[in-house]
């Protein structure tokens, strides 16, 4: 048997295996082939590092972490908590209590859960909040000292102005916040004199003084693919029927898509004064429809398939794997364009990497940016070549020039409304430098024309990969059906034994026929 036939057999085997598993999962187990259009569930991961504030503090620790719970808009499922170094008490519904005799180094607490949006929000009975009426007229001290008098006057002044301009509890709260925003000095004064720790707490006290039921709420925005979410704080007021959200800072525009995590005037960790902590909060929209719900609910019909399911990985790894599964497809496309069409590209991997860089800059800006950088690189190189430098130091000098140019671009675009400046992260810079290096080597070895073809080819293939491979649809397909990588390998093997003409060779040899006639 010749090499070609052996290759074809192996390739067909791989392709059939991949397609078989795909068929089984898609048809027999009805895994979703397309991503669901509406997102109604999210993966959330909260991981926190706890370390003692001082090394000498050997006191026993006791602190609490707010527990994610169902609320009127969302249901929490599959809640998992990992804190192997702590004693954990989970009897209350609202929080985890952590205890430890003494904390020596830094320890991790990990919380992982899924959130589903409820179609018809139903009011949920939450613990009743008493109105914080410390500053109501009837509760005020009769013989206050001067400072308290000023405080009372200030409160009355704000209440009066806000009442004047508002129609209900929500607009009333908004007016109060607006007044406070305009008058930073009295805001500082109020926080200080009331002896509260935060602006939100002060607002709740102001609302209480005018008999409005209010509470401090904390939560986060449900986003797709964000591994650096912030926990934000807002104020909720009760209009008699339900709790209404009011943003306390102009930066928070709409609170509609926020998950309410906990209520009260404390941070995510409560009583945690003796420790220092930092956290990362990640969220990812779940577009896999019923599939993951099935996995989470542990109704596994096939434990083997579920073991190989990428949805069971931790979130941060899922972000990486989502890209990783696309690389074989990108490489396959590069092989196709090179072997069958006849494009020249810089290396095999380069167009895939460029496509990944486009993810950060967008296609239009990305190509323009690459083009600009290449021009600068070539000008720099053209001059440096005259100096007759050795190759490696010469490339280093060219790269340094390009880094300067990138920094310049960032500075120039900083004030413009172009996302380019920010989005040129470290990763694309590395790719660009590699690109320049390959381009320079090609220029050296094969001349300008070939380098230009290589540039055009690389950009074209990278754009195709960006458009077709890095699309939401393909990401979903490859992520849910990673067995398709076998198909990709099979096709690569077949391409590797393709000895027919490249499309461009019909063009290259077009003259041959002419001369015969």
């Amino acid at each position: 048997m010749t090499r070609t036939w052996i290759t074809i057999c192996i390739a067909l085997g791989l392709i059939l295996f991949g397609l078989g598993v795909f068929y089984y999962k898609a048809v027999m187990l009805s895994y979703p082939i397309t991503p669901s259009q509406t997102v109604d569930s999210w993966y959330i991961e909260f991981s926190s590092n706890i370390e003692p504030k001082s090394r000498r503090n050997k006191d026993a620790l006791e602190f609490a972490l707010a527990k994610p719970r169902d609320n009127e808009n969302y249901v929490v499922t599959n809640l998992q908590m990992f804190a192997p170094e702590f004693g954990v008490e989970d009897d209350s519904n609202a929080r985890y209590e952590f205890t430890k005799r003494s904390l020596v180094g830094s320890e991790t607490i990990l919380l992982r859960f899924n959130i589903f949006a409820i179609d018809n929000p139903t009011p949920i009975k939450s613990a009743d909040v008493k109105i914080d009426d410390q500053y109501r007229k009837k509760n005020r001290i009769s013989n206050p000292d001067d400072k308290i008098v000023i405080l009372y006057e200030k409160i009355d002044e704000i209440i009066k102005e806000a009442k004047d301009k508002s129609a209900g509890p929500v607009s009333y709260t908004k007016q109060i916040i607006k007044i406070l925003d305009q008058d930073k000095s009295s805001q500082r004064f109020l926080i200080e004199e009331m002896g509260v720790s935060s602006r939100e707490a002060m607002i709740v006290k102001l609302l209480g003084a005018s008999d409005v039921k209010a509470r401090i709420a904390h939560g986060f925005e449900l986003q797709d693919r964000n591994n650096n979410l912030d926990i934000v704080t807002w104020v909720e007021v009760n209009d008699g029927k339900a709790w209404k959200r009011v943003a306390v800072s102009p930066a928070m525009s709409s609170l509609e898509n926020y998950y309410l995590w906990w209520v009260g005037d404390h941070d995510v960790f409560n009583n945690a004064e003796s420790v220092r902590y930092s956290y990362t909060l990640s969220s990812k929209a779940n577009r896999d429809g019923s599939l993951t719900r099935e996995i989470w609910m542990q109704e596994n019909r096939n434990p083997v398939l579920n073991f190989f399911s990428l949805q069971t990985l931790p979130l941060e790894q899922q972000f990486v794997v989502q890209i990783l599964v696309l690389i074989p497809l990108g490489a396959l496309l590069v092989s196709f364009f090179r072997q069958m069409i006849g494009f020249q590209t810089f290396g095999t991997f380069m167009p895939v990497l460029i496509a990944l860089a486009f993810r950060e800059t967008g296609l239009g800006y990305g190509i323009a940016f690459f083009f600009g950088i290449i021009c600068v690189g070539l000008i720099a190189r053209a001059y440096i070549t005259k100096l007759h430098l050795l190759m490696v130091p010469r490339l280093s000098a060219v790269l340094s020039t390009i880094v300067l140019f990138i920094i310049l671009m960032m500075l120039v675009t900083k004030d413009m409304d172009i996302s380019l400046g920010i989005s040129v992260a470290l990763f694309p810079v590395v790719i660009i430098t590699m690109f320049i290096e390959r381009m320079s080597t090609m220029l050296d070895e094969k001349g300008g024309l070939d380098a230009a073809y290589g540039f055009i080819g690389s950009m074209f293939v990278a754009s195709v990969i960006y458009i077709f491979v890095l699309s939401g649809y393909t990401i979903h397909l490859m992520f849910v059906f990673p067995e398709l990588i076998f198909v990709s390998i099979g096709l690569c093997l077949l391409l590797g034994r393709y000895n027919g003409y490249k499309l461009m060779e019909y063009w290259r040899f077009r003259q041959i026929k002419k001369a015969t006639s």
Binding site: M391, Y506, Q511, I512
Partner: protein, 293 residues
């Protein structure tokens, strides 16, 4: 229109994929590549089978040896300095005479002794070798070109490339430098390829950048119907080199010296496929097809 697959196939045209898979991968074993990649190795190989090459004046392997250059060149007026593993004709310095002010380069400009030494240092540090690996300087005596191709070449070095496969010469091409190709005979840099009839050694079609042309763009002379002197000898030389190198499919580059006759310049383990256009026929017309074991 360009999809007329059958035409190319019928003519036995070999594409790049097929060249790689069925000729280079199948017939050329990696361990024999050095015979083609290193000019010194090629030279020794040629000597071993009694094929002439330009005379070796000396070689330099280390930076400290560069001082020996003057001593090596003592009394020589015509010589070539080239990198052992250079590619695409880069780094080749041709000196055609000595003037009181320095060495006369073939392009007409003057190089000082320091310039020559600097050039050697660059070669040694890998400036002209693929991937920047450390290289060796090769100094050869200058070929005195047979004037037979003078009116159809511009500066530079005209040579004859013969493709040999498994002991059989397949195709030949006269490669002529132009102004465009900067004195180099490489086709993809703008050199001109002229097809040669295998039986008679007469030139037929000429191509530049994959287009047929009739006259040399600089000299204006016709390419066709010229007899290659000593054609049969060249074919013999090419076959000898192929057999000796143990590479199954190579291109042999031969220059014609007016005193010494044909000399092998280098051999190429990955010869290009444009030669088919110059000859207006496909390689597979002639090459026995089939994979080696």
């Amino acid at each position: 229109m360009i999809f007329k697959r059958s035409n190319l196939k019928k003519r036995g045209i070999v594409g790049i994929n097929e060249r790689n898979l069925d000729f280079i991968f199948a017939k050329n074993k990696r361990k024999f590549y050095p015979y083609a990649d290193s000019k010194l190795a090629t030279k020794r190989l040629a000597e071993s089978v009694g094929v002439a090459t330009p005379a070796l004046i000396g070689e330099l392997n280390w930076q400290y040896e560069v001082k020996r250059l003057v001593e090596l060149l003592d009394g020589r007026t015509e010589f070539v300095i080239k990198p052992d593993r250079g590619s695409g004709g880069n780094g080749i310095l041709v000196i055609s005479g000595i003037l009181p002010i320095g060495y006369k380069k073939s392009s007409g400009s003057i190089a000082s002794r320091q310039d020559l030494q600097f050039h050697c240092q660059n070669i040694l540090s890998g400036m002209f070798s693929l991937g920047g690996q450390k290289d060796t300087v090769v100094i050869e005596s200058l070929v005195k070109f047979d004037p037979v191709f003078e009116d159809i070449s511009f500066q530079g070095v005209p040579d004859v490339r013969i493709i040999v496969c498994d002991g059989k010469p397949m195709m030949g091409m006269l490669r002529l430098p132009t102004k465009r190709s900067d004195g180099k005979a490489n086709l993809h840099m703008g050199g001109i390829g002229v097809g040669i009839d295998m039986d008679t050694g007469m030139t037929n079609h000429a191509v530049q950048f994959n287009h047929y042309i009739e006259r040399h763009p600089e000299t204006g002379h016709l390419f066709t119907n010229r007899q290659i002197p000593g054609w049969k000898d060249m074919l013999d030389i090419a076959v000898k080199m192929q057999v000796a190198s143990q590479l199954g499919y190579i291109g042999v580059d031969i220059v014609l010296d007016k005193d010494l006759g044909p000399l092998v310049l280098e051999i190429n383990a990955r010869p290009g496929i444009s030669i088919q256009i110059a000859n207006n026929r496909g390689l597979k017309d002639e090459v026995p097809i089939g994979e080696s074991v």
